[in-house]
Amino acid sequence: MSLVISHLARRFGPTPVLRGIDLAVEQRELIALLGPSGSGKTTLLRIIAGLDWPDAGGLSFDGDDWLARSAGERRIGLVFQHYALFPHMTVRDNIAFGLSVRPRGNRPDRAGIADRVGRLLRFLQIEGLADRYPAELSGGQRQRVALGRAMAIEPRVLLLDEPFGALDAQVRRDLRRWLRGVHDSTGTTTIFVTHDQEEAFELADRVVVMNAGMIEQAGRPDEIYDHPATPFVARFLGLTVEVPVAMRAGRAEAAGLDLTALPRRAIPDGPATLFLRPADIQPLPDPAAPFRVTEIVSTGALLRIMARDDAGCRIEAEIPRRDGRDLREGQPVALRPVTGQIFPAGGTLAARAPATPVTLKEAFA
């Protein structure tokens, strides 16, 4: 156990930003705080860094109460979204900063600092940039320098705020792989904030999904992807089609939908909501079905099918182009979801504990 966050709460004026965060981060873990803007993830990161303070709750590292320590005493490495490099210092001096401000007894000598900085420059593959100023660097290079500056103090926890937010797509992908490599070779416990689920899922050992100041779900990427615990997580992960259904004896029923592919669920009888990914819905031509195709749009490899019934329920499905040859606008279709998540109406699944609903894939495995 290394970093323990308990019941952390923070409000800005009347607005609650964090509403009771509990999270334990293990040594060497790489954690993603994932959520939309305003979910409180950056505030949480800043509290861990010691740049903001909670109104209630605890934060400790290896049993040491971090709320009693200043940012400098915690020895964390923080990489800002826009890097916050010192513009009047060269890359070398930026990286050396954390070592050069140490009190004399604790500070490596000139040669020691130069040696450590040199090794970091090599490790981060930015040796050629050592004597440049931040204004002369590209975004990706600045990102590396910022990481080098944070790593120079051998931080106990590395914190990154939207580390790839300001970069273009290609650099972003390259740096992502590179950062994973850096983490694997240093083993520094790392927490990064992102609103990009692809980024979180590709990079992190564990993803913490946040919404409105609370943790909606925390778990391994595939765990979360396959079993979203709350409607919010489901929506956030692309289960954007929501259909009202009625539960009866553990099975969902809805007019015009063929839900036989969905497994039985331990949800009490009554109204519920079915969450589906458009790609997991098959439209099947059926003259007796209440849904009609209203629009077919090609996105290249995929066809996006819009269907609605007389009651006004609209459902969007995505199918491979070749499977949609006999679909026409105006045609009646039955809709057959192959997998989906069901949540009782007005509530989430039994608390926020790791939920274990069974999906079709598993039921047939």
């Binding site: 940012a71 400098g72 020895r75 513009p87 401000v101 140490r102 944070a150 103090i153």
Partner: protein, 275 residues
Amino acid sequence: MNAMTSGSARPGRHVPLLLIALAITLTAVVVAVPLVYILWRALSEGFAVFAQNILAPDTLHAIWLTTLVAVITLPVNLAVGIAAAWLIARFTFPGRKALLTLIELPFSISPIIAGVCYLLLYGRQGLLGPALAEADVTVLFALPGIVMVTLFVTSPFVTREVLPLMQAQGSEQEQAALTLGATGWQVFRRVTLPNIRWALLYGAVLATARAVGEFGAVSVVSGAIRGQTNTLPLQVELLFNDLNTVGAFAAASTLTVIALIVLVVKTLVEGRART
């Protein structure tokens, strides 16, 4: 054909020339000629007379006093200006806007009003007059009064130059330095100060120019005692009223030379402060 029509149809061929001529004439009449004339008149009776006038004890004392006032006010302006800019840029607190307005107030108030305020507050019949007299502290018609009123007039310059820069740069660099283990002083010395150094220098130059040249406020509180509380601008007026034209012009030229030096420094600094 097309080129001809467009050439002759273009209306404003002479307008730019006219404007340039107007600008040059105006600058010459209003600024350049008077400045050159001051130097010319100051030296009109030969350099010996000029030097003699400059070295007249009263004028020499005025130069000394003006320099002293500038040297005392500068560090105070720097310290207070940085502190105020930092406070306003880095913190939100009730009364922040009001403080900003208050800091800029001296810009919009006529200096002579500042002088009169000091007179009413510290004068013998003023609010604090009796108490000061009891404690045997002289403010008015002495160096403290001159310094204080000069501070009043020059106080906005540093904050005005530094604040926008601090606001634009935000506090992330300082926070980064804190997380890297720097102490408050180290953050200021190695991160904050280097970032604002040119703006700071620019503000200091402006404040010093104003401190050297201030007339209105100082004339009220100094009492203009020859050889004692006469600053250089006051000395110029005094000599002028004495019909000592060469003396007045000599003193004025000294002031002008100081102003020109400041102007050159300002121009050099300005380019860097804006980047």
